[in-house]
Assembly symmetry: C2
């Protein structure tokens, strides 16, 4: 499989949905497979909250496989012998695309907490400029899980004609009050870290690692499920030898502490806050009197709406409601609920049913 | 209704289940109604995690009704014209009974984080000394919700003969891996507060209020339910006038922040950590090879096991499993699932069905 690590630089002023703007931006992205001569085999893959553009293959610097490497490759669900897959890192994230870590040319300092609030629409608009730059008339499919699925939904509503199919996986048109509450707790955990310095920790040469770590621990719980925790950890006690600290009794505590610690090494706190806000405020029907059916009347793409039975963060009910709205709007929409074993994170794990659902839709819908 | 605010002081060494001990203790408690001459009308009410002994009536100092005031009183589910209700504050808590805020006579300093780890068994053992002191041969009933229900279960197993009936409400014989994970996040939030000082904040004349506040926000989410959040807040935006700070968009954020703030004024951080650990490590079957059926073979009390359909913290499944174990052990056990509208917190809110279930069992089982 041909893999390329690329960068797209947009030099003009880029207006955001909220009326603010940034002076140009950079999107880093990876591509898998080759764009054909007709340029009609391009698939856009959108990452979730803390994901990156590294979706497939093995990263040469970290030696790690991409977050969807089981789905993207020769003979896989998204067959790179046939399709050219584009995977960008989103604006506001911290893996190379323009975001809080980027130096603002106007001030000469990193944006930090002054990076403007983004909407999923802004991500999609920046991806549309990348599409144009690649010479692709329309994506064969745009797909992703969680916040990635929300981008696919936004594409199908707001960039009608530039996308033929959308895969909206473990996602929703509106996150719930409970999700907002959980995200707000994560933000508060980070903001209360003494090293956060009101978001200006970069200037102070600090990093609110403790806050990031504990926020991630909370996130991690919500991405899995009670069944998953029960099967993996149950109430097993942590052996003394591998205990991270003396306050720990159970394996599940040690695991979460370890995962949170790792995450806090590489993620950025301002990005964490910004990206959770993007999720909370996502509302593709906002410009249509909050009527999702009216919004979906703009959609001419075919939709695959997919959920997992043990996802309690974005439960199946949300997907059903979205499917029903699409049907009412006259959209070609297909819905399937699959059995998952990893809660909300099930969208990251392959299964025969899951890969069949994606490849069948991509190739035959 | 006759209300008395009392204190029971135990002067001897009090051995704990884990082998440690404390040099005596004090239990503050309230009583409602009057103990009859035969001393056979006493009901013990056990509070949940952050509750206190103030279960009924109106507290003269704060002017607030008790946490179960709708259930306890003349003509109510627990009729104080008939029953004498005893409601203690648990060891390790922060409302007057011996706990981390208490001065350790040996060192002359507050226990703080050095207060020994407790087991639900220790609470029940201390309550049993109170029972003896009151001259009550056996409680007519011991009941409570959540961690209060766990005490009722422990009573029925470990103090057989001293209790005739137990009401185990929204509780479980073993909390789940997911609950442990959530409690551990709360503990980490508190420990990472710069004012926590490794638990010695009292000596430093500090209070880790931010940590307590955010931990409570997380707890609050788990005590409610998605449906409850949806009905109360949905995605309503917070009006500018009442915004606690500029980072807030949604009403639900403001609400949680406000509730967390209030809680952090009066609760103690070391108690928070200690009490969540009591919950996590609760296992009344530990002394019976982790076999809850074997443990329940000691129970001669009649059990009422009650759950709520929208409780996701201690879901109905747990109560069903406990009921089945009781049946296998030959215990007289009655199970009912009620409709709740407040998630796990449903046990605090009255309804005709709920009060009927309790009063019927108390008077006629």
């Amino acid at each position: 499989m041909k893999i390329e690590q690329c960068s797209f630089r947009y030099e003009d002023k880029f207006s955001l949905l909220n009326g603010e703007s940034i002076e140009g931006f950079e999107l880093v992205y990876e591509t898998y497979g080759e764009l054909n001569a007709e340029k009609n085999n391009a698939v856009l893959v959108c990452h979730a909250f803390s994901g990156s553009h590294h979706a497939a293959g093995v990263d040469p610097t970290t030696d790690k496989p991409g977050w969807w490497h089981e789905f993207i490759g020769p003979g896989k669900a998204i067959d790179t012998d046939k399709y050219f897959v584009v995977s960008p890192n989103n604006l506001g994230s911290c893996y190379g695309s323009t975001g809080p870590l980027t130096v603002n040319n106007v001030t000469g300092k990193p944006y930090g907490s002054s990076f403007p609030a983004l909407d999923v629409y802004d991500w999609v608009a920046s991806q549309d400029l990348l599409r144009e730059n690649l010479g692709v008339k329309a994506w064969e499919m745009v797909l992703g899980g969680s916040l990635g699925g929300m981008q696919a939904l936004e594409w199908s509503i707001s960039f009608s004609g530039k996308i033929k199919k959308a895969g909206i996986i473990a996602a929703t048109a509106l996150v719930s009050s409970q999700n907002i509450a959980l995200n707000q707790v994560a933000r508060e955990i980070i903001r209360k870290d003494i090293a956060f310095e009101n978001g200006d920790y970069l200037l102070a040469n600090k990093k609110p690692k403790d806050g990031l770590k504990v926020a991630r621990m909370l996130g991690h719980i919500t991405y899995l499920s009670e069944t998953n925790f029960k099967n993996r950890f149950g109430r097993k006690l942590q052996d003394a030898e591998n205990k991270i600290d003396e306050n720990i009794d159970f394996e599940v505590e040690n695991y979460l502490r370890y995962q949170g610690e790792k995450f806090s090494e590489y993620f950025d706190a301002n990005s964490y806050i910004l990206l959770t806000k993007v999720m909370d405020t996502f509302n593709p029907a906002a410009r249509f009197n909050n009527n999702i059916v009216e919004a979906l009347k703009n959609c001419i793409a075919k939709l695959l709406i997919l959920s997992f039975d043990d996802d309690w963060l974005f439960p199946t009910q949300y997907s059903k409601e979205l499917h029903l709205a699409a049907i009412k709007a006259g959209v070609h929409s297909s819905f399937i609920e699959l059995s998952g074993q990893h809660g909300h994170d099930s969208f990251l794990f392959t299964s025969d049913d899951y890969t069949s659902a994606i490849s069948n839709f991509l190739n035959h819908a």
